[in-house]
């Protein structure tokens, strides 16, 4: 059929025009794989397991930590536990095992979870903030970098300065700080710990604390029972003989344990103090709430008593991750990063200028149908007739006219529809697109297909069977259009 042959070719032509500056989809044939948000995350983080695991960029020291813990515990279980289990009690390896597993669990949890990263501001937000800052400062500020912007807030009677983060383009909430290693603002930023290969912040502080606490118990446990083992053996066969029996690992094991005990126990003690006074390492190092700064200087975040502070830090509600690593990127989501091609078409500024409002749509549809009716009766291709009158329009406008001329696609074939969907939403759904991020996430190609279905039905009228069926179809199509 003449029409049938002509139209698929034109269909591909139209879709090529639409994809040149818009969606990531290169051709109508390639399946569009929706990207997840972690793949375009602007910070310096590494993601594993399709976004489930999040770590800092330098993870070398983390692997060292892992190796140290596993090897030391492994040696203990292999060489000391059999003797101790038989001569003392089998509870020794059991408790050791539980401690070891707990240490590993909390370490992995600290290293792999989101510390409380604040997502960067969307371009609209950043522009709005800049405007407000200009109003506040008076717009006379030259130079590239304006002086550091701060906002003062009174929290529980203390004046707290909120700083503006130039990278994330937000005013940092109180207690948040920007980690230069990970290039993220982190809520309740404690410190960046290379041993766990991640920042320690609001969401993983309790796991970090549990890790160092249980690790200090584990090192003390191992240290104590290694000493016990040597003592027991030397009771039986003399001290020097005892050392000779077991390999020379004792000195190394003991040395590692000795130093770990002091450093890790010390660290646990320090963090216990921080938790009980509800401070972060950052604040303590800077002396933000120390009484040396002033008589009236006190910590506004403390709940007053040690017990509540501890409970709040360790057993309080765990806030969810704000960065939604595994969510899918909507093509028109306002991204803080430089926009991809997909956004240029659908972005807010574009949508305002290129929007085909319903007047234009109705007019163009009416014109096209009129134009189509006449030549079709003579069984000629429709496409020629309406192309000339609207060449001056933007590409979006062009799509408005080309819409009814494309191949009517059955609603169930999604790949075709996603092709059509590039054309169709520009007239009606481009605004529609802008709002879709606010709904539950759905694959980008799917949402606009709801409205264009009616349109694609409407174009069925030029099945050139006969005049009667043409009229019938046109009426049917028009009725469907009116149901939009």
């Amino acid at each position: 059929m003449h029409l049938g042959v002509a139209e698929p070719m034109r269909d591909c032509e139209y879709s090529q025009i639409s994809t040149r500056s818009s969606t990531p989809m290169e051709s109508p044939h390639k399946k569009r794989t929706p990207r997840r948000k972690w793949q375009t995350f602007p910070g310096r983080n590494k993601f594993y397991c399709n976004g489930r695991i999040m770590m800092a960029r330098q993870t070398g020291v983390f692997y060292l930590t892992l190796v140290l813990i596993v090897v030391t515990s492994g040696l203990f279980f292999a060489f000391d536990c059999p003797y101790l289990a038989s001569s003392l009690t089998p509870a020794v390896p059991a408790i050791g095992g539980v401690l070891f597993l707990f240490v590993l669990g909390t370490l992995l949890r600290t290293s792999f979870s989101d510390p409380g990263v604040l997502p960067r501001a969307t371009p609209d937000e950043a522009a709005d903030l800049e405007r407000q800052i200009d109003i506040a400062n008076g717009s006379s500020s030259g130079g590239y970098r304006r002086p550091p912007r701060t906002k003062e807030v009174i929290i529980n009677g203390q004046t707290v300065k909120l700083k503006y983060c130039f990278t994330c383009k937000i005013f940092r909430p109180p207690r948040a700080s920007h980690c230069s290693l990970c290039d993220n603002c982190v809520e309740r930023f404690d410190h960046h710990c290379p041993w766990v290969g991640n920042c320690v912040g609001k969401r993983n502080y309790r796991f970090f604390y549990m890790f160092i606490l249980s690790l200090s118990f584990l090192t003390v446990f191992i240290f104590a029972f290694v000493i016990t083992h040597v003592i027991l053996r030397s009771h039986r066969s003399g001290f020097l003989n005892a050392l000779k029996d077991s390999p020379a690992r004792y000195p190394s094991c003991v040395v590692v344990c000795f130093f770990s005990v002091w450093s890790i126990v010390g660290l646990s003690g320090f963090h216990t103090y921080l938790i009980s006074s509800n401070q972060t390492t950052n604040e303590d190092i800077k002396g933000s709430w120390s009484s040396k700064r002033g008589k009236d200087n006190y910590n506004p975040y403390s709940y007053g008593n040690i017990f509540t502070n501890c409970c709040a830090a360790l057993c309080g509600p765990l806030p969810p991750s704000l960065i939604d690593r595994r969510g899918f990127i909507q093509p028109d989501t306002p991204q803080p990063a430089p926009p991809t091609n997909g956004i240029t078409m659908y972005g807010s500024t574009q949508s305002q200028s290129h929007m085909c409002d319903q007047d234009q749509c109705i007019q163009s549809t009416k014109f096209v149908l009129q134009a189509a009716a006449t030549p079709l009766l003579q069984n000629e291709p429709v496409v020629m007739a309406s192309e000339p009158p609207l060449p001056a329009r933007t590409s979006l406008g062009g799509h408005c006219t080309s819409l009814p001329l494309g191949q009517p696609t059955p609603p169930t074939s999604t790949p075709n529809l996603s092709c059509e969907a590039d054309l169709i939403p520009h007239q009606e759904g481009a605004h529609h697109h802008f709002l879709t991020p606010e709904e539950a996430p759905s694959p980008p190609g799917m949402l606009p297909c709801g409205s264009p279905l009616d349109h694609s039905h409407a174009v069925q009228f030029y099945s050139p069977a006969s005049q009667d069926s043409l009229h019938e179809d046109s009426v049917r199509g028009l009725v469907k259009l009116s149901s939009v």
Binding site: D128, P317, L435
Partner: protein, 175 residues
């Protein structure tokens, strides 16, 4: 001869139908515009966005400022707006509340090495779902008919409540 007459006749019929359709569509769009969120998305252009910032006077708890932005003066009642923000603030306070239930949940989670969250959702997440439903309901009932749209703050990292203001078409001519 007959064919030509038939052609003219059918063209006239089609044009007539088109005119009827055009006016029908115009009316339909007019009526639909102020009624549903779906129609707003299909028709309206974004005029401006207002951002309600966080209120830190109570510490790091998630609260939003209840100050009424001037851009919304023509669109919505001040009381209505403040009511919405206050309810949101209460919901967030409920999510972050330190009480018996949250302590119990925390301790239980610690004892099970946090594996319990594989099957159960945290209290915070449950409240976030409640918040999402509330915002949807507010949009449908109050904000969409006035050409406004609230964005769930969780989509903006709990930094702002974004209110999108759509162009007011109700006074426009030439449909």
């Amino acid at each position: 001869m007959v064919g030509l007459c038939g052609t003219t006749w059918s063209t006239q019929i089609v044009s007539g139908l088109l005119d009827v359709l055009y006016s029908e569509l115009a009316t339909a769009f007019n009526m639909a515009e102020t009624h549903s969120l779906q129609d707003i998305r299909q028709q309206a252009a974004i005029a401006a966005k207002v951002f309600i910032q966080r209120d830190y006077t109570n510490g790091t708890v998630c609260q939003f400022q209840t100050k009424f932005p001037s851009e919304l003066e023509t669109r919505i009642d001040k009381q209505q707006f403040e009511e919405t923000v206050r309810t949101l603030n209460n919901l967030y306070a409920e999510a972050e509340k330190l009480g018996g239930q949250s302590y119990l949940e925390g301790c239980l989670a610690c004892l099970t090495a946090y594996t319990i969250f594989l099957c159960m959702e945290t209290h915070y997440e449950k409240v976030l779902k409640k918040i999402a439903k509330y915002i949807q309901e507010q949009n449908d009932k109050i904000y969409a008919p006035r050409g406004l749209l609230l964005t769930d703050p969780i989509e903006r990292g709990l930094r702002v409540v974004e209110i999108t203001i759509f162009e007011d078409r109700s006074t426009g001519s030439g449909r």
